[in-house]
Symmetry: C2
Subunit: 349 residues, 2 copies
């Protein structure tokens, strides 16, 4: 981009829900995980991010959901932009404008879609044409699970041991299996311990090493269950893996107890429903909300039942989503105000 | 007892609450545990058990809280009586009458006080004068944690590896530290998986080996904290240990999730209260009720606050209790109807 002073790209990415979880790093700086993970992208939930490199800017700026972002968030984005600048051989600073169509801190890992969209938009705006593994690696350096929001559908992140071999790839396309993620939102308050800090606490649990040692077995079972569309095997390993992560969290020092009473009410209800014959299982990220994964034909019933549980504030649903992708630039995209071209729901905070 | 055809003894024991938990056996038959544990006897909560050996009886009988017991319970008691008969060299069958002054399945391990009282009453009625370690061993064969209800006050069960070296002893008398156990009863329904079956499931969790490996460290910290009356250190290790046991339970196959929504509400409240300066911590056995252990001076406030938490049905309190002991026999004790001499609350079912 040495030949221009300004260049813009806009990208789009879905968040993802992990079936085999990422918790704990081998390398905190590069976010090389201590074990592999498997996830599904979530169609309908989206981050859109526009990056405009401009050699006249004196610093990177970040606007999130229509508001100037906090300095910590801006600095974290700037570190990813530094990587992009280094690859592209430029020193231009960037204006980054990003918005989600889903509530922040609703138990949806917005950092995953945010850094996947940022990696794609920033690299494209810088004139780089990164392949999928390279984009996945770049996204990973911003937020580990973001590497899984780069490829489409059902995705596996191979842990690897270096920056080069730690990236995600698709193991099945979105239409491979008609699962629905029904997110039972039991609290929209911000969690008290963010994931980045939490990952650093994982090794303080007496259980983390055992959890990691067993991870290859769970990855094999989960991958196979997805490929064979075997819901029973899938449900068992997904719930086990979620409980294993929370077991580590609640025994780390300090202990991290993310569950609320309503979290447990949903977990127990889902166990009952599956015993009654509904194909549904639960999985919970680093927060109190419960992702209830079910077969498409059961999802109206599941949503109906979830809404009846005291403490469940709302239920979001998502089907398997595609890969991160670039969006066509509107003609006025050089104008910072053109973010207003984003659909209304993207600008709600 | 070959010289008599009938002999009776009545014993009394408290249940106990474990601070470092027992979950998983090295030997299921003999209930040799996979790791040591530490507990406190609970004064005010009691089992009274009368054993009458009678050579005219054709089978052992068991009356629990005024009702004939189920066959499984009777057979389990008969197995302990078989051990006593073998030691005493008799073949007489026994009539066993036992009653608790606390609700069964209220999260209080009634099997601990029951088998401690049974071991003492049965051995005395058979004419044996067992010392404390021998009584503790005998009680253990009926219910593992019962070995801890034989000695008084604060008690440690050394795991051992054989019947001979697996027994409990007092590490401090009841008046050593003025703790109060405030039991927040959130459900009086029977738990779905009993402890005996649960112990057998422990090794199916990928986390159990790591939990056991770390046990000597926790035992040292807990023992030292009790001896030094260091509540902060005590609270940290007690909550960690409880979470470790439930981590194993919720990741065993099948998964055992004993917590209810109100369980979690109490756990989170106690964490908050301690952060505010109240000396209180939680510990949870194989059920949904929460034992909130606190310093004596804080217990009125703790009880008051616990009662205000939705889902808490009642709060029982107990102070450190003494050793299992024999009770003087009333003159009419040969008469099976004399169980009616037990105070009224012992005969409520």
């Amino acid at each position: 981009m040495s030949d221009t002073t300004e260049r813009t790209a806009t990208a789009f990415a879905n968040p993802n829900i992990a079936f085999i979880k990422y918790w704990g790093n081998r390398d905190h700086e590069l976010r090389i995980p201590a074990s592999g993970s498997i996830s599904m992208n979530l169609a309908g939930l989206e981050t859109r991010t526009r990056v405009r490199f401009d050699s006249n800017l004196s610093a990177d700026t970040l606007t999130l959901n229509g508001q100037p972002a906090a300095e910590a968030a801006r600095a974290r984005v700037a570190r990813l932009l530094d990587r992009v600048r280094e690859m592209a051989g430029t020193r231009a600073r960037a204006e980054v404008v990003s918005a989600n169509n889903f509530p922040t801190a609703a138990g949806i890992a917005s950092s995953a879609s945010a850094y996947a969209a940022l990696a794609l938009a920033a690299s494209a705006a810088a004139g780089l044409a990164l392949d999928e593994p390279a984009l996945s690696r770049l996204a990973r350096t911003g937020s580990g699970s973001a590497c899984r929001s780069v490829p489409g559908g059902f995705v596996e992140w191979q842990a690897g041991t270096t920056h080069e071999d730690s990236y995600a790839f698709s193991i099945a396309p979105p239409d491979h299996w008609h699962l629905v993620d029904c997110v039972a939102v039991v609290s929209t308050r911000h969690k008290t311990t963010g994931s980045t800090h939490g990952h650093a606490l994982a090794p303080t649990s007496p259980l983390q090493a055992a959890r990691l040692e067993d991870a290859p077995r769970r990855l094999d079972i989960c991958r196979q269950a997805i490929l064979e569309r075997d819901f029973e095997a899938f449900a068992e390993v997904v719930e086990l893996d979620s409980n294993l992560m929370h077991a580590v969290m609640m025994t780390s020092s300090p202990r991290l107890l993310y569950w609320l009473p309503a979290t447990l009410a949903v977990m127990r209800a889902v166990e009952r429903w599956r015993a009654e014959g509904l194909s549904a299982c639960y999985t919970i990220d680093a927060g109190p909300n419960v992702h209830v994964i079910c077969l498409h034909e059961h999802h109206p019933e599941i949503v109906h039942r979830l809404k009846a549980i005291p403490g469940v504030e709302q239920v979001l649903t998502a089907t398997p989503g595609g890969a991160a992708r670039l969006l066509d630039e509107p003609a006025a995209s050089n104008n910072p105000r053109s973010l207003q071209n984003l659909p209304g729901q993207y600008l709600r905070s």
